[in-house]
């Protein structure tokens, strides 16, 4: 057995010597004219190189586990080393054969070549070192480590040759395909479109570091120069252009470009190449020079993504302002906002009159270039503002609505060459001052409502400078008469007044006059008193008022009911009980001067149905009483009606009473809107320490009511005595 093994090793060893010698010879010989079949053989290099790399790496673990004393293991390792060296040498030989083409970066190639040859030599050396290092492990380990290192470095360079130097670059950025910039008139066909395609699909193998076929596509010059097979394109002749021919070959053809397995050119990209070559492969050709009817135009519009509405971003000739500047200038009174998140353009707006000063505008100089819109509306800016506006060279929109400018300095805006819109509503500018702006080249609209410019002057301006829109705004029709709103009172809710408290009527229109009556009649041009100042009332007063003013129609009348606080009632007592739901806070509700409201009968109202309303009122300091006023709720829809009769009795105490007044209110004849009705009952004048008031609810609702024949309700919230 031993002999066979030794023979085996011997053969391998001999072959190895042969090949190594051959390898050394080939190193120094020029390899330019080797036969084609040898060249083809060299293509096996990338296949075979995996073996020596694997074997050499394996040496490391193997070294640590073999036992010095095991013969079998030593033999195995000996075999292993022989094969390693053999494969390394064959690989190196094949590599030498394939290194002849000038496809590769010569520097890297040189390094790879010599390191790999060294690897082959070292692996051969290892065979002998192993035999002598029987006792000296350290020598063995050193030798193996050296071989592994040399192999790693050498094969790294080899990898760089095929995959590019930065293949192992641990950069976070991933190389994505370059996107097309949106098409515009100035898009360059070669630089922006053709080159983008080349970068995405060809440059991986055809660049400065790696020039397959000798072709470098990084620049126009090297593109034109071409590579081994000749110039890449023929100016003006796509059919004769090599790069197009290669693309048009059958995909299975070896020479087809891009190679099978890589990203292929799309039909549109190929068309682009053809057309561009046809147009003399011109680097200066721009998109706008391509006729709309040209197929190339259609193809390019299809190829470069149709701009979605979101991408119609206006391109500005300036870059973003420094973020810190924007941050430091931003305040609640001077707001600086970008037009959108990607745009460099800025909008400046000012708020709060009292915080404004021209200095705020002046301080914007660090960002002056980026500002396209300034809004000073309602700010107390005067003519001095104009000298600060000239630094905003890219200003497009200027809002001076409601500012204090006079218009004399408007002509200084001529230095803002991009100004497209000026808003001068509510300012004192005049036609002759604004006219100078008519010559501004980019001006599109001027707003002049409520300025000193008349509509005739606007018409003239519009005729003269017809490309600009001169807006006069709304001018009211003198003949249109609108109706005024009815007058209101200072305190609408308050209906009960203390003695001496005055009634105040008002109307929001400046200069409007109020006419009013207290006798229940409706005021008009002939009837009624003119309101000049707040006035007194006595007892129950019902006021009707209208507003009048020149140039306006008189308003509809408004009416208000006021109750003066009458004689002081010390306490009240409920003789009949109200319905449980509508008992408010008992008898005191009648004298607490808290008025109820029509929409909520649960609050401040006392409601009676099964029993009539009957309450007694005590006066400790009786004064002469002449009338009683009951404040009644009226809501026919809810079965709440005025009482059919009110009977009032008075006397010195509860059991000593006689009738002093009665009244039967008029009942409604149809459903009507809810309201509160004051009902006055005249009394026999006298001093009454105790007064009893009874309001008899309708015992039978009228026939027109859906609840006819049922009892009605009576609701009272206050009783006044005068």
């Amino acid at each position: 057995m031993m002999k066979q093994n030794q023979l085996h090793v011997h053969i391998i060893g001999s072959l190895l010597m042969l090949l190594q010698a051959l390898m050394l010879v080939l190193c120094i010989v020029s390899l330019n004219d080797i036969p084609w079949w040898l060249k083809q053989l060299g293509h096996l290099h990338p296949v075979l190189l995996h073996l020596p790399i694997a074997f050499i790496f394996l040496l490391l673990p193997l070294s640590f586990i073999f036992k010095k004393d095991s013969d079998q293991e030593r033999l195995f390792i000996s075999y292993f080393l022989h094969y390693t060296a053999l494969f390394a040498t064959i690989t190196a030989l094949l590599g030498l054969l394939s290194a002849s083409s000038n496809e590769y970066d010569p520097d890297i190639l040189l390094k790879h070549k010599w390191l790999s040859i060294s690897t082959a030599l070292l692996s051969h050396l290892l065979i002998y070192i192993f035999q002598i290092s029987h006792r000296k492990r350290s020598l063995w380990i050193t030798a193996v480590s050296t071989t592994v290192t040399v192999m790693m470095v050498g094969s790294h360079f080899g990898g760089s040759l095929t995959h590019g130097e930065d293949y192992l670059n641990f950069d976070k950025e991933e190389k994505n395909t370059k996107a097309f910039m949106p098409l515009s008139d100035s898009t360059l066909i070669y630089q922006d479109l053709v080159q983008t395609v080349l970068i995405n699909k060809c440059i991986e193998c055809h660049n400065e570091k790696k020039m397959k076929g000798g072709l470098n596509l990084n620049s126009y010059a090297s593109f034109q120069k071409g590579g081994k097979t000749g110039a890449a394109f023929a100016v003006g002749d796509p059919d004769q252009s090599l790069f197009i021919q290669r693309a048009l070959l059958n995909i299975d053809d070896n020479k087809h470009m891009p190679p099978k397995g890589k990203m292929q050119l799309t039909q549109e990209e190929l068309f682009l190449f053809k057309e561009w070559t046809k147009r003399n492969a011109d680097t200066l050709l721009q998109f706008h020079q391509i006729d709309l009817k040209d197929t190339l135009h259609a193809i390019l519009s299809k190829m470069v993504e149709v701009k979605s509405i979101e991408n119609t971003a206006k391109v500005y000739p300036f870059s973003k302002a420094v973020d810190d500047n924007i941050q430091s200038l931003n305040s609640p009174f001077r707001r600086i906002m970008p037009v959108d998140i990607n745009s460099p353009a800025l909008v400046v707006k000012f708020y709060l009159k009292e915080k404004f000063s021209l200095q705020l505008l002046e301080e914007c100089s660090p960002i002056a270039k980026q500002v396209i819109e300034i809004n000073l509306s309602s700010m107390p800016a005067d003519d001095a503002v104009f000298k600060h506006l000239s630094m905003f060279e890219n200003l497009e929109k200027l809002n001076l609505n409601g500012t204090m400018i006079s218009g004399k300095q408007l002509s200084s805006l001529k230095s803002n060459k991009h100004l497209s819109s000026i808003k001068l509503a509510n300012t004192a500018v005049r036609a002759n001052e604004i006219e100078t702006l008519g010559t501004l080249p980019s001006l599109q609209s001027v707003y002049l409502w409520n300025s000193q410019v008349t509509s005739d002057e606007i018409t003239l301006l519009q005729k003269k400078y017809s490309s600009i829109k001169w807006d006069i705004g709304y001018i009211p029709d003198e003949k249109e008469l609108l109706k005024l709103t009815p007058p209101s009172t200072a305190n609408a809710e308050k209906m009960i007044l203390d003695p001496g408290e005055l009634v105040q009527l008002k109307h929001p229109l400046p200069g409007a006059q109020i006419k009013y009556t207290t006798d229940g009649s409706v005021p008009d041009s002939s009837n009624g008193m003119i309101y000049t100042k707040p006035f007194n009332i006595s007892g129950l007063t019902q006021i009707n008022a209208i507003a009048v003013s020149d140039g306006w129609m008189s308003s509809n009348p408004s009416n208000f009911t006021y109750f003066l606080k009458g004689a002081k009632v010390d306490s009240a007592v409920l003789i009949h009980r109200p319905a449980d739901r509508y008992k408010s806070n008992g008898s005191v509700a009648l004298i607490d001067f808290n008025k109820g409201i029509t929409t909520n009968l649960n609050l401040n109202w006392l409601g009676f149905r099964d029993e009539t309303m009957k309450a007694g009122f005590y006066f400790s300091q009786p004064a002469v009483i002449k009338q009683a006023v009951l404040s009644i709720a009226d809501n026919t829809y809810s079965y709440v009606f005025p009482p059919e009769k009110i009977i009032i009795k008075g006397g010195s105490n509860k059991s000593n009473l006689k009738v002093i007044g009665s009244f039967s209110p008029i009942q409604p004849k149809a459903q009507r809107n809810a309201g509160i009705i004051p009902i006055t009952v005249q009394l026999i004048p006298g001093l009454y320490p105790f007064i009893e008031v009874e309001a008899i609810n309708l015992q039978r609702l009228p026939p027109w009511h859906p609840g006819k024949k049922e009892k009605g309700w009576v609701f009272v919230d206050e009783v006044f005595f005068y």
Binding site: P332, D340, E354, A425, S445, G473, Y474
Partner: protein
């Protein structure tokens, strides 16, 4: 033999140790895969959420004024002219048109569904030839500035879900309202005023309520809640300093309060505390900003005539329109008006006249006012209700009056300014005014379009709440290109 058998068995036995080791290593391997490729296992993330506070792409509209007509105005009496209904007045609604559309509880007991033609006359106006009823002469005069959508449709058939749907993108649930989303996505232009204001007015017609759910911030920060301006004398209650306090006092107090709140925040970390601090600061600035806005005493005659004399009376629709213009001009991102009273189940003719009187002049005036100040291009104005009304009569059809019930399948809405296409009529309904024939626009589509005009991709304005990324358009919505200039 037995030995071999035993050996085999031995080798086949998998011990617990063996199993646990191998299983553990296997799980570890899978976990390693999970660590390395984190995103693969988290589940499909939609496109990255947008950065807040600034538009994603150049917006056409910078601010919105939404004139919401609460109660649902009848499209057959406003902008959708259907002469066939007048011709077939009183005839029964054909089943082929109704196609089993559900009825509300109010009309489900009706035996007959007689078609009703509108009592109001329609005419075409402007260069766009848009049909507008005689009730809205002022709007008719400016049709060339308006973009009508006649084919809005919704799923809700009653007011609460429909309103909630329009404002929040879902029929139920406490989701943020449109204005809150705008405030969240774009922030405020003017930090001295809230970025979302709500103004309410009551019409004389049959009113439906509005509730604070409609301007809520939902699960967003409460900074984004709509601020209701009260319709009384004091639009923002408690804004002014009390007697004896001056601005400096107030400032000192706020500074001290901020210190306490900041300490509290450090302790507890509740983000609402920060919101509170911000709100106090804004209130302080509002003391300066608001009074000049709500002071109507200096309005020129021209302005009063533009909006109508109502505009001087706080709490009316016209006054709210004027205030809306002022707020918007001052940089408030979203101003929403609610005008109640359009719910014409009965007495339609009388109620529509009163409602139209309230809103016609003022709505048109608002547009003209913005236009003359050069602000119409950057302000989006929307006018519309929550659904439409039926072409058949609700209740008894008499000579003098009729009513219409709720109809979700088609209704009209108009937009103006802010990048919409002026002088446009988008969409077509059938001659019965019941179904949509061409170009439907759902509420989601409407939201998507509005967001788009404001420079936001509606799919990217999201907020993660309870594990789900919510957005205003929920799970649907396409931008309607036909209404964009």
């Amino acid at each position: 033999m037995k030995m071999e058998q035993q050996e085999k068995e031995f080798r086949l036995n998998v011990t617990r140790r063996h199993f646990l080791t191998k299983a553990g290593l296997g799980m570890g391997g899978a976990a390693l895969g999970g660590l390395l490729f984190k995103d693969q296992f988290i589940g499909a993330e939609s496109q990255a959420a947008m950065q807040l506070g600034v538009a994603q792409f150049a917006p056409k509209a910078k601010r919105i004024i939404y004139l919401f007509q609460n109660g649902a105005p009848s499209q057959l009496e406003t902008f959708d002219y259907k002469p066939l209904l007048n011709k077939m007045h009183g005839a029964e609604l054909p089943a082929s048109i109704r196609m089993g559309q559900r009825l509300t509880g109010m009309t489900s007991n009706q035996e007959k569904f007689p078609l009703v033609g509108s009592t109001f006359n329609f005419a075409q106006h402007g260069q766009s030839g848009a049909w507008v009823s005689e009730l809205f002469p002022h709007m008719a005069a400016i049709v060339d500035d308006l973009c009508f959508i006649k084919t809005m449709h919704t799923e809700a058939i009653n007011h609460d879900p429909a309103l909630t749907f329009f404002q929040t993108g879902a029929q139920q649930g406490n989701r943020p309202s449109m204005g809150a989303w705008m405030s969240y996505g774009l922030g405020s232009e003017n930090s001295n005023l809230p970025s979302y204001c709500v103004l309410l007015s009551r019409g004389r017609g049959n009113g439906q309520g509005v509730y604070s759910k409609l301007w809520t911030n939902g699960f967003l920060d409460s900074v984004h809640q709509g601020v209701v301006f009260s319709s009384g004398e004091d639009p923002v209650l408690y804004l002014n300093n009390p007697e004896g306090h001056d601005k400096q006092n107030r400032r000192d107090m706020l500074d001290m309060l901020a210190k306490f709140n900041a300490a509290s925040f450090e302790n507890i970390g509740d983000p609402e505390i920060k919101t509170r601090i911000q709100q106090y600061e804004m209130s302080y600035r509002m003391q300066s900003a608001v009074p000049e806005l709500t002071d109507f005493s200096k309005e020129s005659n021209s302005t009063i005539k533009l909006y109508g004399p109502d505009c001087l009376v706080p709490g009316t629709y016209a006054a709210n329109c004027l205030l809306a213009r002022k707020l918007s001009e001052s940089g408030v991102r979203f101003v929403q008006l609610y005008h109640q009273g359009w719910d014409t189940h009965g007495n339609l003719e009388g109620d529509m006249r009163m409602q139209a009187e309230d809103v016609d002049r003022a709505s048109a005036g608002l547009i003209k006012d913005l236009k003359q100040r050069g602000l119409l291009d950057e302000t989006l104005i929307i006018w519309g209700g929550e659904f439409g009304r039926t072409n058949y009569c609700q209740g008894a059809l008499t000579k003098d009056s009729y009513g219409r019930d709720h109809h979700p399948k088609c209704f009209s809405l108009w937009m103006a300014g802010g990048g919409t296409k002026p002088g446009t009529v988008y969409g077509e309904t059938d001659e019965f005014g019941y179904n949509i024939v061409k170009d439907p626009v759902s509420v989601h589509d409407f939201h998507a379009t509005v967001l788009h005009l404001m420079g936001i991709n509606h799919e990217q304005l999201t907020y993660k709440h309870l594990g789900r990324r919510y957005r205003l358009t929920d799970i649907a919505g396409e931008v309607v290109q036909g209404v964009i200039a």
